[in-house]
């Protein structure tokens, strides 16, 4: 190592090793503070204001490509789409009429039963600005932020089901953790028989895992999982995933159950943000038996 050092005719400040130690310690300190406490969120959102225009600039070419692509859609396909949509629309309107009737009827019945009424959720349309380039995280950035009243913890879905949850909000964009993220859990219920469970992301696109289900539990291929709404974060009854593989190996205490997300978690450009957070009454202090149903309320406190 001796001959690698330059001759010190001039004072060049501290040596590289000293600087490395300084900056490494600084990084580790930042890491620690970022993981443990949430003091750095304001700095992060401040810097993101700086970074935001550049990110827009970089994504501009691909956006332009999409727009040009959309512009040159042929006449025929437009006509076809239009006819299809009209057809779908008439069907939907008919169903919507029925829904209105059912809704009032349901409300009425709920009133009779003195059950708390279900809320209607205001919905906001947002566009994916870009997908996270970090291979470890399943996250996307949407183009609505605190300026559009997006709050952390709100639910993001597309037309077919749950996509994820807003975990960080910047002034003009928000970061969404997809349900396929390794750290993410959604409390669900099997639509067929009402069995409650929690579905975890596996870090893979297009795969979720239903863990800690006993071998004897009544789950079949093709079962649809919907949100149970027990955590107070996800509104109840939204489709999440479909069971694609059930493996019951008596050597293990739990069955190995894989699911595929119903929503196009990786496919859409436009997504919906459910704007209302459900407010549940405070949980009583001693509630041990429901521990399995409430793993993380929105993963905020658990990180």
């Amino acid at each position: 190592m001796e001959h690698n050092q330059p001759l010190r005719f001039f004072n060049r400040g501290p040596s590289p090793a000293v600087r490395l130690v300084f900056f490494a310690l600084l990084s580790l300190l930042l890491l620690f503070v970022d993981v443990r406490y949430r003091y750095l969120e304001s700095i992060r959102s401040g810097l993101s204001v700086l970074v935001y225009p550049l990110q827009r600039l970089v994504t501009a070419p691909s956006n332009l490509w999409h727009e040009v692509d959309a512009f040159f859609v042929s006449h025929n396909s437009l006509i076809r789409d239009n006819a299809e949509l009209r057809h779908q629309h008439t069907l939907d309107v008919a169903q919507l009429l029925q829904l209105e009737v059912l809704k009032t009827e349901n409300q009425h019945l709920r009133n009779l039963l003195m059950v708390q009424r279900r809320a209607d959720y205001p919905i906001q349309l947002a566009e994916i600005m870009y997908v996270e380039r970090d291979i470890f995280n399943r996250k996307i950035l949407l183009d609505k932020g605190t300026q559009a009243n997006v709050l952390a913890g709100q639910i993001v879905m597309d037309d077919s089901g749950i996509v994820g949850q807003v975990t960080r909000v910047y002034p003009w964009m928000s970061e969404v953790t997809l349900i396929t993220d390794k750290d993410h859990a959604v409390p669900v219920q099997v639509l067929r028989n009402g069995l409650r469970s929690v579905v975890f992301g596996s870090g893979d696109t297009g795969e979720l895992a239903l863990r800690y289900m006993p071998i004897s539990s009544d789950i079949q291929n093709g079962d649809v999982l919907v949100t149970s709404g027990i955590d107070g974060t996800y509104p109840p009854g939204l489709p999440v995933a479909k069971v694609i593989h059930v493996e019951r190996d008596p050597a293990y205490p739990f069955a190995r159950i894989l699911c595929a997300p119903i929503a196009g978690v990786d496919k859409r450009r436009q997504l919906l943000i459910l704007s209302a957070l459900v407010k549940l009454p405070e949980r009583p202090e001693v509630a041990v038996e429901t521990a399995t149903d409430k793993p993380k309320s929105g993963r905020r406190g658990s990180r």
Binding site: N4, F10, R12, G13, P16, A17, R19, L20, F23, A24, L26, S27, L28, L29, L30, L31, V33, D34, V35, L40, I43, R44, L47, S48, V51, L54, Q55, L57, V58, T59, S62, Y130, V131, E132, R133, D134, I135, F136, N137, K139, L141, R168, E175, K182, D183, G203, D266
Partner: protein, 172 residues
């Protein structure tokens, strides 16, 4: 910090600070392109490459402090933990500075083999931090280090070519 910068070796091309800043800026932009799917796996880390280039070719212009600052910017844009990129880039810059004479002795092909372990180290640090804090590791992440190392030759040629005509116009 680097208050007095001399031309350390007369046969090396001179360089303006503006050019260094511009190259790092372009590298950041390239990293921020909307990479998706299979392309994300093969995404080279342009920032790490350009940092390593400057640390080996101009160790007194670009140091660990700059690497760290660039790392913080990358952390914000990637929504990774604060200091994750910064730590990896600091170590990368340090190893580049310490080994710069050794790396420059070789020709481009051999240089690629020389810098590959350095890039691998930076990637490993990033992955290790993630593994310690989040508990999972994605092995395909390391493919990026191979792709980055393969890009070392083209990048060096490109930057050298860009530096040559500039010195006449920029240095007044």
């Amino acid at each position: 910090m680097r208050d007095h910068i001399q031309k350390d070796q007369e046969f090396q091309l001179p360089v303006s600070r503006f050019f260094i800043a511009a190259s790092l800026f372009v590298a950041l932009m390239l990293d921020w392109l909307p990479w998706q799917g299979i392309w994300l796996v093969f995404r080279p880390d342009f920032v790490a490459l350009v940092l390593l280039y400057w640390c080996t070719h101009k160790p007194y212009h670009v140091g660990i402090s700059i690497a760290w600052a660039v790392g913080i910017l990358a952390d914000v844009a990637d929504a990774s933990l604060f200091g994750q990129h910064a730590l990896a880039y600091s170590v990368l810059a340090f190893s580049g500075i310490v080994l710069h004479r050794r790396v420059l002795m070789f020709n481009l092909h051999q240089q690629t083999l020389q810098i590959f372990p350095l890039l691998l180290l930076a990637y490993a640090i990033y992955a290790a931090v993630h593994w310690q804090l989040r508990g999972n590791i994605a092995w395909e992440y390391f493919i990026g280090s191979v792709v980055s190392a393969l890009l070392w030759g083209p990048l060096t040629i490109l930057l050298q070519a860009l530096r040559r005509p500039r010195d006449a116009s920029d240095q007044l």
